[in-house]
């Protein structure tokens, strides 16, 4: 195009402008596929949906994606009528189909969150990045991330040791290790910093739980007294109640 003179280009543009326009199947297919992806991002806009896939720190990509994809679809549709419409080749159709597969997977399946299967296979969380100082641990309510984070540094562990016997209320799901007695389980929650692919597990051991009815993957709230050991934390349960999966099933830094 750059070798053409400007007058040649003007003629071409004029010819283009006056020739009859037809819908181009290839461009229509592009616009439909962009629209479908845009639809997925609009669907994910409420926090209770995006929280199953993304951290609260990265959830801004959802509105960004929704707007960009919508603009892309509208733009492609607006230019879809052309004097030289491109046919939709089989390869092009197949390529677009591949891209829509994830949308179908998200929409067709019931919403779910990582559970015990992942807990057995993923690394566990090391919290130094999130715990600014042992002061956070020294007073106030202790969260699952506080406890796991504090155990990673000597100062944190000491600060936590001073809280021995404090009452805690923690929410997570049940995982079991082989050989655990009936009144013990591991309370697990995942910490997600960007998307679910980087999930790290956060765990405390619960003892003295009322036996029975504690199936793996059941979400529970455990209330009881916290006893930090050398490199793990133990909760002597006073009460274990079933709860629904939280709206945000993952902890976010």
């Amino acid at each position: 195009m750059s070798v053409q003179s400007s007058s040649q280009r003007r003629v071409a543009r004029l010819a283009w402008a006056v020739s009859p326009r037809l819908w181009s199947p290839a461009r229509l297919a592009d616009a439909v596929a962009l629209g479908i992806w845009a639809g997925l991002f609009w669907y994910l806009l409420p926090a209770e949906r995006s929280a199953l896939y993304l951290s609260s720190r990265t959830s801004w990509v959802v509105p960004l994606g929704a707007v960009l994809l919508t603009l892309g679809a509208i733009g492609r549709l607006a230019g879809a009528r052309s004097p030289a419409p491109e046919p939709l080749s089989r390869r092009h159709a197949l390529g677009i189909g591949v891209i829509i597969v994830p949308v179908i997977a998200v929409l067709a399946l019931p919403p779910s969150a990582l559970g015990s299967y992942a807990a057995a296979r993923r690394s566990s969380f090391v919290g130094s990045g999130y715990i600014a100082s042992p002061d956070d641990v020294a007073s106030g309510e202790l969260s699952l991330a506080d406890i796991a984070g504090a155990l990673q540094s000597q100062k944190g562990a000491q600060a936590l040791a001073r809280r021995a016997g404090s009452r805690v209320s923690l929410v997570g799901f049940v995982t079991k290790e082989s050989g655990m007695p009936a009144d013990e389980f591991v309370l697990t929650r995942f910490l997600v910093s960007c998307c679910v692919a980087d999930a790290l597990s956060v765990q405390v051991r619960v003892v003295g739980a009322p036996p029975g009815n504690l199936k793996t993957d059941q979400w529970v709230r455990v209330e009881g007294a916290l006893y930090p050991l050398e490199n793990e934390a133990l909760v002597d349960a006073a009460e274990v109640v079933h709860v629904d999966r939280p709206v945000r099933p993952y902890l976010n830094p």
Binding site: A29, L52, R91, C195
Partner: protein
């Protein structure tokens, strides 16, 4: 140039969408009916797969927007001028340009492809592509946050940025004088990358945008499938056995970075969790991962000619190994 199809072909070609649409509907119905999420491994796979894509698609699209803007609105003389920069300056300049481009690895591939196609030296385009995901400000900040409160914070932040820049420039240097035609894979007609004389700039912009998005998206879906399968079925604890074995532990964490395919904006949090490994292997994970991983293997193989991926693996691998060994000696 425009190519006009006979009317019968045009209307008939929409029929090619039918089997694809039918297949997608059947997939949706099958997922609804059989609820494979009851099998926990499958549920885990689908969650990781969807979340990788939900996070990466907006970035791919941003990359496509920048790439289409470059194609349609930046006049060619800008690239001619850039190409006249003195040779020794081009690679560092391209590397540092990554500092100003806060998009992770998925977004930088289409931009680099476009830059090379528009006449920027391919070595400079490749250096930019590899440096941007390591050097961009968001990545530097998240690395600092992940290692905050540990003695190694500055070693990690500076080591990552320094070795990343070095590795990116090394690949650029090895690519050297190869021409764009030599380095870029041709995309075939279906990519809609041809210009129509006289078409409005807006229509051309959206044409290139869609072309890039679908082109990259395909490879991203394939890469995310493999990465999610590896994440689901390979337990991360198998790495523990080599922790503390010098050199082997570096290779092990580089291999893990390849398998996991994390976004460079979050991988520091995962790297920081490998406490049983020293700072050397953790740094190797952070330098190697953003340039070489499963999803990038697919993106590169679709964008560049054969052999390019091998070059990147060898050169980035060698620089990462040598650099992290040196850091271990100096800082350890």
């Amino acid at each position: 140039m425009a190519h006009t199809a006979p009317a019968s072909v045009r209307t008939g070609s929409l029929g090619n969408a039918l089997p694809v649409a039918a297949g997608l509907l059947a997939l949706g119905a099958a997922l609804r009916l059989f609820e494979p999420t009851r099998i926990t491994g499958v549920q885990n796979f689908l969650l990781v797969f969807s979340s990788l894509l939900i996070e990466a698609v907006p970035f791919i699209l941003l990359g496509a927007v920048v790439s289409a803007l470059i194609e349609v609105f930046v006049p060619p003389r800008v690239f001619e001028r850039l190409a006249r920069l003195p040779g020794p300056l081009q690679l560092p300049a391209a590397g540092f340009a990554g500092l100003a481009f806060p998009v992770c690895e998925c977004g930088s591939v289409p931009v680099a492809r476009r830059l090379a196609a528009k006449g920027l030296a391919p070595s400079a385009a490749v250096t930019f592509m590899l440096a941007a995901p390591v050097l961009n400000p968001i990545v530097i900040a998240s690395t600092a946050v992940a290692y905050r409160g540990r003695g190694a914070m500055w070693t990690m932040v500076l080591g990552r940025a320094g070795l990343g820049l070095l590795a990116a420039m090394a690949v650029g240097w090895v690519v050297g004088g190869r021409s764009a035609g030599d380095l870029l894979r041709s995309r075939g007609v279906e990519a809609d990358d041809h210009d129509h004389d006289g078409e409005s700039r807006g229509a051309a912009f959206f044409g290139h945008l869609a072309g890039d998005f679908f082109f990259m998206g395909r490879y991203l879906v394939l890469g995310a499938t493999v990465a999610a399968a590896l994440q689901t079925f390979v337990p991360q604890s198998i790495m523990g056995s080599v922790a503390g074995t010098p050199f082997v532990d570096l290779i092990a964490l580089m291999g893990l970075a390849f398998l996991l395919s994390l976004c460079s904006e979050s991988d520091a949090f995962v790297a920081a969790s490998f406490v049983q490994f020293g700072i050397g292997p953790q740094l190797a994970f952070l330098v190697f991962g953003p340039m070489v991983d499963t999803k990038l293997a697919f993106l590169y193989s679709g964008t560049f000619t054969k052999g390019f991926f091998r070059t990147v693996v060898l050169v980035v691998g060698a620089v990462t190994l040598a650099g992290t060994l040196w850091v271990e000696v100096v800082a350890g």
